[in-house]
């Protein structure tokens, strides 16, 4: 199931980056697209704004078929303070923009991606294509919360994949 999680992250990051290349984050001195998996980063108490933070929050395995079907819930959190130069008055518009980007990225066809094995991938080493696909449902958008002027929302999406033989 780790391969499915990695594949879904890479797919979503590339789609979101294509929709809005200016949405970036600086992680340890390097600028990269503004999507990250929280569990893959160093623990930190600070929450970055204007980026998408993915967390894997649910798991269900259906072993009835020859290939177990894995259903995972991915929570995608994002928040914004608005533009400081505008006094934060545009925070609603910025959050709506992130809503639209996420809905567009996850709603675009196809709703599938070939599962890849990234465990040996690195600089100059390509991931290994696997035999099945990762597919996902439409996102469910949670309610907006507002704390000290910061607008935040968490959306969830169900991600499915078949567990191949020998796959961890």
């Amino acid at each position: 199931m780790q391969n499915a999680k990695d594949t879904f992250y890479v797919m979503l990051q590339s789609r979101l980056a294509a929709l809005n290349p200016s949405r970036t984050i600086v992680v340890r001195g390097v600028v990269r697209p503004g999507t990250l998996v929280v569990e893959n980063e160093l623990p930190t108490g600070s929450i970055p704004v204007d980026v998408f933070r993915m967390e894997w929050t649910g798991l269900r395995v259906d072993s009835a078929a020859s290939l177990p079907l894995v259903a995972m819930e991915c929570s995608i959190g994002y928040c914004t303070d608005g533009t400081s130069g505008d006094g934060g008055m545009d925070r609603g518009r910025l959050l709506a923009g992130m809503d639209a980007e996420l809905a567009s990225a996850l709603g675009a066809e196809p709703h599938t991606a070939q599962k890849m094995n990234y465990s040996a991938a690195g600089a100059g080493v390509a991931p290994i294509a696997m035999g099945t696909d990762v597919f996902w449902a439409d996102p469910v958008f949670g309610a907006v919360t507002s704390v000290d002027g910061r607008l935040a929302r968490t959306s969830t999406v169900q991600v499915f994949a078949y567990q191949e033989v020998g796959e961890l």
Binding site: Y9, V30, R32, N40, E41, G45, S46, A121, G122, A123
Partner: protein, 142 residues
Amino acid sequence: MSDLGGSSAAARATDVLLRATGGRKVMLRMPAPAIPADVAEQLGVATPTFQDLPLAPVVYRKARATIAAGVATKCELLVSATAVEAIVGSLAFASASVLFATAYGILSDDELLEIVAASEEQVFGRPYVYRLLLRTPLTQVV
């Protein structure tokens, strides 16, 4: 006395005070810069290397931290602004807040403490001491 002179005098006085009250050295553990476009790091496959930078003088605000069952112990560390400014300058960070947000933790007596929050005390617009709220590792919570 000019503002600049007053602020630097406050920083020096704080350093003296920290040393006089048992000032000690801890290490600031910094992760190495990320590798551009390396998907392995973004997926948690490859981990960064770390470097430890000396931070002195520092003083724990309370010698004994408050302990509660099942909750990570927290303590407060007072850090010399002079030492922080030296690191911020040598590593070319934009500010001390960025430095502490990037840091992985404080290594104190072979124990790695997570930085929960950082704040500063100023005089004439210049920090003279930094206050770090630290948390013990979750593995030590009973």
